[in-house]
């Protein structure tokens, strides 16, 4: 026996209101987890970026250290070459001065330039010319000057002039310029 004219519909716990609510809840949960996922992703990206930056920084550090080494070495090369070139120029000036020092009336047959001295061999018409024109300037330059004369048949004299500078002065004046020599000696 039927009590109603309509067909009975099934009752569900998920009513339209509840379904709407679940949709809103779902959207909210989805947005919450999306935010969380975004934060996790960013966190991962940041740590990757920091790692990359650290790697780049280490590489740059090594590169900079390497370049600094090269710069220091070039500066050393430059300094050493400057010293050597200066020494060559000083030597040139010394030899020029030496030959300018010898008067025309005195003839040199040999000149030995030592690190701390000078030995001259030559011929002079007489001892006075030698003493006044050559020995006097030599005395003003060197600390010790020794001269020997040997008479020749024509009345002239063969002379040997040995001149030395004190070692201390040589160290001060010459070795400062020729610093590289000392370094070599010290190591040997």
């Amino acid at each position: 026996m039927r009590y109603s004219y309509i067909k009975p519909r099934r009752k569900s716990i998920f009513t339209a209101e509840l379904q709407l609510l679940f949709v809103f809840f779902g959207i909210t949960v989805f947005m919450l987890f999306l935010t969380y996922a975004f934060l996790l992703f960013k966190d991962y990206r940041f740590s990757q970026d920091v790692k990359d930056i650290d790697t780049k920084r280490v590489a740059l550090n090594i590169n900079i250290a390497n370049m600094k080494k090269q710069i220091t070495f070039i500066e050393k090369e430059n300094l050493l070459s400057e010293r050597i070139y200066t020494q060559n120029m000083v030597l040139k000036d010394s030899i020029t001065n030496l030959f300018d020092l010898v008067p025309q009336r005195i003839t040199l047959s040999e000149a030995k330039l030592l690190k701390n001295g000078l030995i001259l061999y030559g011929i002079t018409p007489n001892k006075d010319i030698y003493n006044f024109m050559l020995q006097a300037p030599l005395r003003s330059i060197f600390h010790k000057t020794y001269s020997s004369f040997y008479p020749l048949k024509n009345g002239w004299f063969r002379f040997v002039s040995t001149n030395y500078i004190d070692d201390n002065e040589v160290d001060d004046e010459i070795d400062n310029i020729l610093n590289t020599d000392d370094e070599v000696k010290n190591e040997s």
Partner: protein, 180 residues
């Protein structure tokens, strides 16, 4: 006053309350700390990027300086690397001398483990001291770093002057940090 709520509404209220609690807990326990961490890391990354930029700028400046030094000192750098060749030296400097004989180079020592020093003995004939001055001028522009060393001997030999001297040739030691 009696409040009558349908069963449906009670479900809705309970569910909404539970959801609110979940949202609050999730936000305060997970999202907000994570957000703080995110902000810290973002600032940290900015700082690191700034530092990296400084490093890159310094690297760039150092590179420029190195290139400038290499360019300015190209002759010296090359000269320090070049092996001394007596035949080439004789050929390059024969204009200054009537005759020039160079002995085989002898290894002397190292300077600070970075430069090797070789010594060669030289015997030559020159027409006048001027030739020797010109030689000393030109030696500073030669392909090697050479120092004319004491003792230097000049001796009259007929119309010529016989000169003998030693030269020290400086070269970058092979095991040193050369400027490549």
């Amino acid at each position: 006053m009696k409040v009558s709520m349908s069963r449906q509404n009670i479900y809705l209220l309970v569910l909404s309350t539970l959801f609110l609690i979940f949202v609050l807990l999730f936000s305060f326990l997970v999202l907000i700390p994570k957000g703080k961490q995110y902000r810290e890391q973002r600032n940290n990354l900015r700082e690191k990027n700034r530092e990296l930029q400084q490093y890159e700028n310094f690297n760039s400046d150092t590179f420029k300086l190195l290139k400038k030094l290499q360019s300015d000192n190209r002759h010296i750098i090359t000269a320090f690397k070049t092996d001394f060749n007596p035949q080439r030296f004789e050929k390059e400097n024969k204009n200054f001398f009537s005759s020039l004989v160079i002995s085989k180079k002898v290894y002397i020592n190292k300077i600070e483990d970075e430069f090797s020093v070789y010594e060669v003995n030289t015997t030559s004939h020159i027409s006048s001291p001027k030739s020797f001055y010109n030689f000393l001028d030109s030696i500073n522009k030669s392909d090697w770093v050479i120092k004319v060393n004491f003792p230097i001997n000049f001796k009259r030999d007929g119309d010529m002057i016989r000169s003998s001297f030693t030269m020290r040739v400086y070269k970058v030691a092979k095991d040193s940090n050369s400027s490549k």
